[in-house]
């Protein structure tokens, strides 16, 4: 198998030692079928065991190996080395997030945001299991299904300049999931999600740059979800003004 070499310019940050991240270059010879993650694992196993990064499934499902590859947010398990023409590839931690170490970002802020939209089915009363399933028509399924594929990889947050400017912005993935559950015919919990969505740091912070949907490896289209949340919220607002007594 033919082998080529590439120089990986990897961001290093040692907490407690470094005040700012620095870049370290590693020369890697790679076969045609290697992805960026393979090269990082090669470095970790054979060159420099101190390099830290997250990964798990190696097949674009777990969402843990997201990094900036030549400045673009990518799942490194899906970014083939051969697709880059340059002799050097820059590997940086996902943009806009606090860095814990090297390529590992702190996602605890995102986990709080995710929780704030209650991304699960909320029922006023649960049916008894003996009464059977909650049935849905294909049309009801279509309403939310495109938004179910999110793997919380956070590429959309790194693509979003608004999140970079305003880290309190609840962001694309959390809002897409809020929309996903609001649109689910089995769900009755949109009121519980209202305050998180209808907030300056909720849907209203978004100015529809649209890059979140471009980088999403699962074609979730958070940008569409957020704009539809705005439409729904504005409609409800008009209703609450015209019919203030009819508010739930």
């Amino acid at each position: 198998m033919s082998e080529r070499t590439v120089s990986l310019k990897v961001t290093r940050y040692r907490p407690g030692q470094d005040s700012t991240p620095t870049a370290q270059s590693y020369e890697v010879a790679y076969p045609d079928d290697w992805v960026v993650l393979d090269a990082l694992n090669f470095i970790k196993d054979h060159v420099d065991g101190t390099l830290s990064f997250r990964w798990s499934c190696r097949m674009g499902v777990c969402g843990s190996c997201g990094m900036m590859v030549n400045g673009e947010p990518r799942l490194t398990c899906s970014a083939f080395l051969r697709e880059f023409d340059s002799q050097e590839i820059r590997i940086e931690p996902l943009a806009h997030f606090p860095v814990i170490r090297d390529l590992v970002i702190d996602m605890s802020g995102f986990l709080d945001k995710l929780k704030s939209v209650s991304p699960w089915i909320i029922r006023d009363t649960e049916k008894d299991p003996s009464e059977g399933e909650y049935l849905q028509s294909p049309k009801q399924l279509d309403a939310y299904h495109p938004f179910t594929a999110c793997i919380n990889c956070l590429l959309c947050y790194s693509a979003c300049p608004i999140f970079g400017l305003e880290t309190d912005f609840i962001g694309p993935a959390a809002l897409a999931l809020a929309h996903r559950y609001n649109e689910d015919s089995r769900d009755q919990g949109s009121a519980a999600r209202w305050n998180a969505i209808n907030d300056h740091n909720g849907a209203w912070q978004c100015t529809f740059v649209g890059e979140c949907s471009v980088v999403c490896p699962k074609s979730v289209d958070p940008a569409a979800a957020i704009q539809r949340l705005k439409v729904d919220t504005a409609k409800q607002w008009v209703r609450s003004v015209l019919l203030p007594w009819g508010q739930k």
């Binding site: 400017l165 009121a191 519980a192 305050n195 209808n198 919220t233 504005a234 739930k248």
Partner: protein, 111 residues
Amino acid sequence: MNHRKTLEPMWWGLFSAGGVVAAFLIPIHIVLLGLAIPLGWLPGSAEIFQSWIVRLYLFVLISLPLYHWAHRFSFTMSDLGLRPIRKPLAILCYGSAIAGTVVTAWVLLRI
């Protein structure tokens, strides 16, 4: 559930309405009044502005895109570095749009 009260849905609604009006109607008005008539391609007559229907139409045409401007400008300037003065900037922008609406009504009434 205590629902949060915010006017952002209203400003966004006005922004959207203004964006639609601007997208469908503004270019032809610039072509007609800003280029074709001054360049002599088409005759320039101001008689049409005497009509009340036309003036009502012009009120919508001018006022709504002002809110479209106010919303986008206030957000974009925040994104370009004015985030620390976001609140006063928003008040200035939306306030200008409201003032513009009043001025538009006044100008159209005195034709």
